[in-house]
Amino acid sequence: MLTKEQIAQRIAQEVKHGQYINLGIGIPTLVANYIPSELDVVLQSENGLLGIGPFPTESEVDADVINAGKQTITMLPGSAIFDSAESFAMIRGGHVHLTILGAMEVSEHGDIANWKVPGKMVKGMGGAMDLVASAKMIIVAMQHCSKDGHSKLLPSCTLPITGVRCVKKIVSDLAVLEIDPEGGFILKERAPGVSVEEIKSKTAGKLKILGEIPEMQFN
């Protein structure tokens, strides 16, 4: 089973040179730590920044420079600041190439739920609905099962959804999977030491296993 850091590390392998990328809160934020330095990419923060840099030192902390998770950050050389309408214009306009976000549930058709548990938790969707409605490539970072052992990869979402048929790829603590446009989770890679049988038993939605499934590779 992968740690959160390892999930982030595996997702970083999906990043391509020249991409503009939006990272969600939680595990997706960690992806920035593992993007190879030889790739030139720009991180977008939906509160109005292109060019997110590392966390500041104590002396660099500026209350007016934060990311969408409200963390203090720095701006890299070449950064640009803009307002929230502009920020979502570039998101809906398809200018952001890659969106990485967390999920509470994903369905075998690529529906995603991550903003509300009726009667219990209502944090709101933030920018997630705009992002999933528009990004060309959406990768989900998530735990394969809930804490009480229930699969979060389902035939259809039980929670209120954030977007319909939008997820392309999932990296969980157990596996890398792609959504089949015809329906189903296509198993692409296993976490080190995790068997196909285990993934099968923990995936409630339709799992498609084509040939030998390799283990994930980490540098």
């Binding site: 209350a63 409200k70 309408a85 979502f88 944090k123 969707m125 920018g127 609905m129 705009d130 409605a133």
Partner: protein, 233 residues
């Protein structure tokens, strides 16, 4: 130039009544109108409808309004940092309309720009789509969203001049420029108020035409929600 200056926050918000429809700038606690918030707390009005991306935290920003039960309805995109908010919402004491952040931003932008409605892909097939017209363009479904115009917009900028021209700093810009344009009356508070002619016209983010009242805030705490520092230098 038309002078927009008022003495202080108290004078700026003096005529905001109970039941008003307000827009308040900021993302989290970044770029919020701290001085107007304090003045409204002292005024103690109630039944407010507030458009703001977030609802502050329990003891700062709009969270303080919630504690004093000044808010009837919040229109936001993300409210996860405030326990009192969540309690009032789940118990039904507080009306809440949650909208996708880009939809919220565009509803405000469109309001200020004279556009009554627009179509967006965000929220199609979700709870957000309930009761809204869906229309297909080029084979893809979109939701119709109506725009917002406020009775009063409360915005915060870094610098401003006496004619109401505003410059924001860093990510404290966020919702402030669109809200300035979407207010029937827009009140701008700034960290530094300068005479007309001081600011470079090329650098103005919000032209003074959108601002009816401006004052320099007495003090800014600029509280940080997630102070995150790197351990190495």
């Amino acid at each position: 130039m038309i002078l927009k200056t008022v003495k202080d926050a108290k004078e700026a918000v003096a005529d905001i009544p109970s039941g008003a429809f307000l827009m308040m700038g900021g993302f989290g606690l970044c770029g919020i109108p701290e001085n107007c918030i304090e003045a409204l707390l002292e005024k103690g009005i109630t039944d407010l409808t507030i458009v703001s991306n977030n609802a502050g935290v329990d003891d700062f920003g709009i969270g303080l309004f919630l504690k004093k039960r000044m808010v009837k309805k919040m229109i936001s995109s993300y409210v996860g940092e405030n326990e009192e908010f969540e309690r009032q919402m789940l118990s039904g004491e507080l009306e809440v309309e949650l909208l996708p952040q880009g939809t919220l931003a565009e509803k405000i932008r469109a309001g200020g720009a004279g556009i009554p409605a627009f179509f967006t892909p965000a929220g199609v097939g979700t709870e957000v789509a309930k009761g809204k017209e869906t229309r297909e363009f080029d084979g893809k479904p979109y939701l119709m969203e109506r725009s917002f115009i406020s009775d009063f917009s409360l915005v915060k900028a870094w610098k401003g001049d006496t004619a109401g021209n505003l410059i924001y700093k860093g990510t404290a810009r966020n919702f402030n420029p669109m809200m300035a344009a979407a207010g029937k009356i827009t009140i701008a508070e700034v960290e530094e108020l300068v005479p007309v002619g001081t600011l470079d016209p090329n650098q103005i983010h919000t032209p003074g035409i959108y601002v009816q009242r401006i004052f320099q805030g007495k003090k800014y705490e600029k509280r940080i929600e997630q102070r995150t520092v790197s351990t190495y230098k």
